[in-house]
Symmetry: C2
Subunit: 121 residues, 2 copies
DNA sequence: ATGGAAATGAAAATCATTTTCATTTCTGCT
DNA sequence: AGCAGAAATGAAAATGATTTTCATTTCCAT
């Protein structure tokens, strides 16, 4: 396992904490950083392992990486500008738990995201 | 736009209503059906457009297609065998709506899935 | 039957991601 | 400083799903 190259994390931050590997790579190129695409991929993977960033998927399946607080939470995302608000999911947590119990499922997790258009857009 | 080849839908049903394009294709091959991979892709896309199947993503980003009732609902999925239960999301609907309002978002939608291990597994 | 539209599928193209592997950089030790 | 092994790096090739191209076939209405 390789450690994350700190410039990758820093670039992801600069990108608004929300970008694909290809985007991070292109951004670093434009800014004159000398780095290989492979290292960008490896660093982002490593950040995901360390739970420093979330890995999710665009509609087309491309992986996007998002900087992320440490506790369990959900997101409210602007479909237009990408602005992301971390929100608490109290109601979801209970819903997931009760639904799982009702149907006899164990070891349950869940995903929940809200997306729309933010007030600025 | 092309119409969906009915044998594709029928195969997806036979697969348990849950498969990737590649899997549907391989299954049809094994069963001696004469069909091209391109047609399988086109048919599945068309079924998604018509909202007859859901399109979601495996962890690795591969698209999987799932037969699906017609009204808005959520899913409880077994990570082991893939068994899927359609569930109502009353609590989620309210949560999503209130969170969105609270942060000034409009045109909001949401996704929510619960996954765990079913009682059989 | 006939002409145009829709469907089909083989092959090539695309594109994100992973793998390979040789080279470079780092680290601890003498 | 000098050296050895470990870790990091990145260019190029490989992979694999999905899309595009395009020529051919099937349908359908007249
Ligand atoms: Zn916005
Ligand atoms: Zn939650
Ligand atoms: Zn199961
Ligand atoms: Zn809902």
């Amino acid at each position: 396992m390789s450690r994350s190259n700190p410039r990758v994390l820093s670039t992801l931050e600069r990108a608004g904490g929300f970008a694909s590997a290809q985007e991070v790579y292109k951004l670093m190129q434009r800014e004159g950083e000398k780095i290989g695409l492979t290292t960008v991929y490896r660093s982002l993977q490593s950040l995901v392992n360390d739970k420093i960033v979330d890995l999710l998927r665009r509609e087309d399946g491309e992986a996007i990486y998002r900087l992320c607080g440490e506790h369990h939470h959900h997101h409210l995302v602007c479909k237009s500008c990408g602005e992301t608000v971390e929100i608490e999911g109290g109601a979801i947590e209970k819903w997931a738990k009760s639904m799982a119990e009702e149907h006899g499922f164990r070891d349950v997790g869940h995903t929940a995201e809200i997306f729309g258009i933010c007030s600025k857009c």
